[in-house]
Amino acid sequence: METRAHEGQGPAIEARGLVKRYPGVLAVAGVDLRVRPGECLGLLGPNGAGKTTTVEMLEGLLRPDAGEVRLFGVPWGAGKDRHLRERIGVQLQESRFPEKLKVIELVRLFRSFYREGRDEEEVLELVGLLGKRDARSGNLSGGQRQRLSLACALVGDPRALFLDEPTTGLDPQARRRTWEIVEAFRAEGGAVLLTTHSMEEAARLCDRVAIMDRGRILAEGSPGELVEALGADRVVLLEAEGPVEAADLADLPSVRRVTRRGEGFLLAVGEIAPFLPALLERFAARGARLRRLAIHQPTLEDVFLELTGRSLRDDGAEVARRAAREAAR
């Protein structure tokens, strides 16, 4: 316990210049990050961005080709690895438990690896699995299994928690439960590093978000800061039928930026009131028709789009989802 006193000062997780190469891919191309105690950092990026590779280097599972990792000021491989492992909790993106073992047996097994830790039942209570105490892990639902995994990560009473896509594939209710558990951990001074490709999750859960693509961190800040940096009050997505070019849109009032996106355009717009009539006027003047117009508050999704020119999710899925959302209005 005396270690906790001086933990407050330095970062819990720190990486400088991390690089990892695989044959033919630069999976991680120079990543720096820091997470302080009591803080949650989200790595937000699409599949293949290098999130898992980064996290596994931080967890001491993968050796970086270049760069340095320190947890609580201590690097991996300095003869203190066991000491570090006592203080971190890890949930891997894809790990399964032996199906025949019961929930309590698995939590107890993980508890036995740590010199100090929490009571097994207390942790099950925390993740809402006490009622499933004697169920076999193979009989749990996806969300329950995820929470079991979280329980095993928490039972050693870690000071830093690494969660690789903790809510991917979960239903909304299960996600919210996971978020509550993570929030409680952070509120007690734990450091959290999680990866996600859900901007909603990043915005809701993280103090800071690092947007990652192709092995690099493109931008970092609080969700609010990142969105503000877009410099837009509104984001306008439109598709035109007829001769309209980006240049025709860029000089409209309040327009800050225009980017092509698939068939249409994405506009970062300041005040919306003067913009809309001018837009319609311009279309009329060009003899073009507005096939589609959507206006929304900027989100992290837009930040990602702005930074990479691509959508966070699979493009096809995203277009379909937006279309469905609009049809429902």
Partner: protein, 259 residues
């Protein structure tokens, strides 16, 4: 009194070796097929062969079942030692459980020792089941010392566990490890004299056959059970088995893949 019992319970509960071993035992006991192949099948095989060959050989006056039973015990120790390690290790690797364990302060030694310990507990049950069955049904007695028998079985089990761990050190799929297991065990099924005397093979093959761990195990088991040999008489075979175990264990630890 009550307090110290609770203290002991808590100590066992917090002991990684105990918990890892319990996990192995539970997984096995909750797997009906595994229980069948390790316990029921050998007994059925003994029963069938024992009935088929219950009459004494007119030339030697020996019964085949007496020859066969130690061989079946040897075969069982090989199968359960290799499968009992190889299959769950590869399964845990495939499911990323090994990787997950690596993120905890779990000691590798505890992890490996738990496999050995759980196998040894089963070994006692397996050997007692087979010899007990042979004794009850066919009156096959163990002539030598039980201590010698225990030491030989232990050495055999450790030898095959080492081999099992070596075969399972790298594969990521159950299919691959099954292929290698069978590749390693098949020659011993054929050559090591489980069902017939391996001296029938041409003499130039004998040195190779003699070096196989199952041959050593079968010969030592027969010496003790059929001919009443003591520990010193089976020392060479015992050492050979331990050497197989030590060499393959050392190799396995070097090659072992956690991911």
């Amino acid at each position: 009194m009550n307090g110290s019992a609770r203290g002991l319970r808590l100590a066992l509960r917090r002991n990684p070796l105990v918990q890892l071993t319990l996990a192995r035992l539970r997984e096995f006991a909750r797997e009906p097929e595994a229980v069948f192949w390790v316990f029921v099948f050998p007994v059925l095989l003994t029963l069938a062969l024992g009935i088929a060959f219950r009459d004494p050989d007119p030339a030697t006056g020996e019964r085949y079942i007496e020859f066969l039973l130690p061989g079946l015990v040897g075969l069982n120790i090989m199968g359960s030692g290799m499968w009992g390690i190889g299959f769950p290790v590869v399964q845990a690797r495939r499911q990323h459980l090994l990787k997950r364990f690596r993120t905890t302060p779990m000691r590798r030694a505890d992890f490996l020792a738990a496999y050995g310990l759980s196998r040894l507990l089963f070994l006692v049950a397996e050997v007692i089941a087979l010899f007990g069955f042979g004794w009850l049904f066919f009156g096959v007695a163990v002539r030598g010392s039980w201590l010698a028998l225990a030491v030989v079985c232990l050495a055999g089990s450790l030898g095959f566990q080492g081999l099992g761990l070596l075969v399972a050190a790298r594969p990521r799929s159950v299919e691959v490890v099954s292929g290698w297991m069978n590749f390693v065990m098949l020659p011993m099924w054929l050559l090591s004299g489980t069902f017939y005397d391996w001296h029938r093979f041409p003499a130039w093959l004998h040195p190779a056959i003699r070096a196989l761990p199952l041959t050593a195990l079968n010969d030592a088991l027969r010496a003790v059970a059929n001919h009443g040999a003591g520990l010193s008489a089976v020392l060479p075979e015992t050492l050979l088995l331990l050497a197989w175990g030590a060499v393959s264990f050392a190799l396995a630890v070097r090659l072992f893949r956690w991911t």
